[in-house]
Symmetry: C2
Subunit: 341 residues, 2 copies
Amino acid sequence: MKSPFSSLIVSAFFLLVYGCTSTNPSDKNTSQATADSSAVLPSWQEGATKQSIINFVTKTTTQGSADFIPVADRIACFDNDGTLWSEQPIYFQLAFAIYQINKTAPKHPEWKQQQPFKAILAGDMKTVMAGGEKSLGAILAASHAGLTTEQFTQSVKDWMANAQHPTTQKRFNAMIYQPMLELLQYLHKHGYTTFIVSGGGVDFMRAWAEEAYGIPPHQVVGSVGGYRYEFTDGKASLIKLPELTFNDDKAGKPVGIQRSIGKIPVFAAGNSDGDFEMLQYTSTAKGYPRMSILVHHTDSTREWAYDRKSAIGHLDRALTEAPNYGWLVVDMQQDWKKIYP
Amino acid sequence: MKSPFSSLIVSAFFLLVYGCTSTNPSDKNTSQATADSSAVLPSWQEGATKQSIINFVTKTTTQGSADFIPVADRIACFDNDGTLWSEQPIYFQLAFAIYQINKTAPKHPEWKQQQPFKAILAGDMKTVMAGGEKSLGAILAASHAGLTTEQFTQSVKDWMANAQHPTTQKRFNAMIYQPMLELLQYLHKHGYTTFIVSGGGVDFMRAWAEEAYGIPPHQVVGSVGGYRYEFTDGKASLIKLPELTFNDDKAGKPVGIQRSIGKIPVFAAGNSDGDFEMLQYTSTAKGYPRMSILVHHTDSTREWAYDRKSAIGHLDRALTEAPNYGWLVVDMQQDWKKIYP
C-alpha cells in the first residue's frame, strides 16, 4: 500500500514522537467592522478578516449586485484537517487507526508477536516508525479494510464516542472550530452548498461529518479506497479493500472537485500546502468573484502554532504566495474569539 | 483503452448496423388509482403502477407514519440511458462522439487516411466495427480526451444544440421521458434528493443534466476518466485523459453510490441488467422501506420495444428476478400517457 497517504502518516508519527514545531503569531490587527457584522459570525473578532467574508457573501448573494452569483453556482469547498478541526499532534484519522487496532487486538492474538502491531499495542511508536511504509500500510489495512462499509462506519462512531484526544482529553468531534462552523452555517444560510474536500478518507469523514458540520455524506469529497460488492444470503455488502484508488490531496484536490462536484468553487478554504492547488484553482477561475481563505495556525495557547516547518499541516508555499493570489489569511489567534465549541 | 465501456460501444455499433430487437408488450392492465392521484404525475396512466409510487412516497414522507424516512435519508438514484432518456439505436453519448469527430475532422487532415476516422467520416460503420476495441478506444480518445473540462463541456453543449437524433430528428434532450421528469420533480418536492447513477461519462451528462432534469452536477454519478491538473499563464485547467478510471456499471453502481453518495438509496430506478446490482443493493437493505423500479421498453410505436435479446439496454436477469425482489416493473406502453415532453 505505497501511497502519498503513507508518507503523510510517516510525518504524523514523526510528530507524535518528536513534537510539534512552532511559530510566532503574526501581529495583524484590524478594526474595520461595521455595526451590522456583530450579528453574524459571533466567534469571529470584528475586523478586516471578518468584514472581508461578510462583504463577499453579501455582494455575491444580493439580487442586482454586479457580483451576484446564482444559487446553483454557489459552491464552497473546505479542507478538513486543520481547517475545520484540529490535526495535532497526529491526524485524527491516524488516532482512529491506533484505537481500532488496540480494540480489535483480542481477536488477533498473532499481533502480540507481529510488527507493527506488537509495537502499537506496547505504545512503542519508535519501533513502528522503524518499519516505514510497510508498517504503515499494515496499520491502514488492519484498521480500514476487510470490513463492510456499515461495520467501518460503526467502528468510527465507536471511536468518536469513546476515544479522547491525547493532550486535550476532549472527544475528537469537540475539537472542530466554532468560527468555521459558524462560517459553514452562514454560507449555507445564504444559498451556498458547502463541501468538504479533504485528503482524509471519505468513509472516515462521513461517519461523523453530518452530525458535526451539517454536511451530508454526498457533499464530502475525500481520498477513496476500493470496494468489492458482495451479495450473500439475501444481503448486499460493500467490503472495503486495502487499496487507495484516489488520493484527494495537492493537485488531486481540483481533480476530486471535478470528479465529485463538477463545478469550480467560488469559495475555498484550506490551511496547508496540500490545499495550494485547490485555492489556486478557485481563485484564478473566471466569470465570478472568488474568495479563498488560508487558516493560519498561530495560537500556541488555545490550539497549536505551526506553519513553514511543520510536517503535519505544512504551510510554506501557500503562505508565501497568498498575497499574490489575494487569498485571505485568517490568523487564528487574532481573528477568532474562541476556537472550539 | 480496453474497458467494459468499449464492449458497450461494440454493442452500440452492432445495433446501429443491424437494427434493434423487439418484444411484445406485456398485457398488464390496472385500474386501482384513487381520486387524489390524478393531480400528480399527470403523464402516468391511472393504475397500480402509479398508485404504488404515490403510496410509497406518501407513506415515507408523512410525519407519524411507521414508514417515515427523515429527509437526510431520502436518497433516490436513477440510471440515465433507457431510464431517463432514450438509448436507441445507439447510446446518445456515442452519437456525440461521432458528431465530435466529424466536427473536428478539418483540424485533422490525417484522419482522411487513418482508420477508424476515415470510415466514420464516410459513414462506413462496418469498417469501424472491423477495427474492434482498438478503433473504439481511438474514437473515445479523439472525442473525449485532450480537451480541458471547460472545452469538453462546451463541445457537448454544441452537440446538444445542433445535432439531431437519426430517426426522430429531435434534439437529443427532447428525448427525455416526460413521466420520469415528473417523477423526479415529485420526489424532489417531497424532500428526496435525486441522483443520476449511470454508466455514461460523468462530464458528458453534467453538461446538460442540470437544465434537462434539474439535477445539479454534484448529484450526477457516472463513469470517470482521468484528469491532469495544469496551471499555465495564470490559468488553471483540468485536461481530460484518454483513460477510464471508474466504470459505473453493474456491480460498479453500488460502488459508485458509495464513492459519491455514501448512503444506500431508498428509491432506485433502472431499465437493464446493468442496473441489477443497484436495484438489488437498494431493495434488500434494512431499516427503511425501499422502492426499486424497472422501466420496461414495450412501446415500439412511440419509442422502442426491446428487452431480453437487446444488446443495448439488455434486460433479462433483472426482468426474470423482478418479482422475487418486489421490483415495480413499469410498462412504458401501458403506464405512460406520453413518452417525450
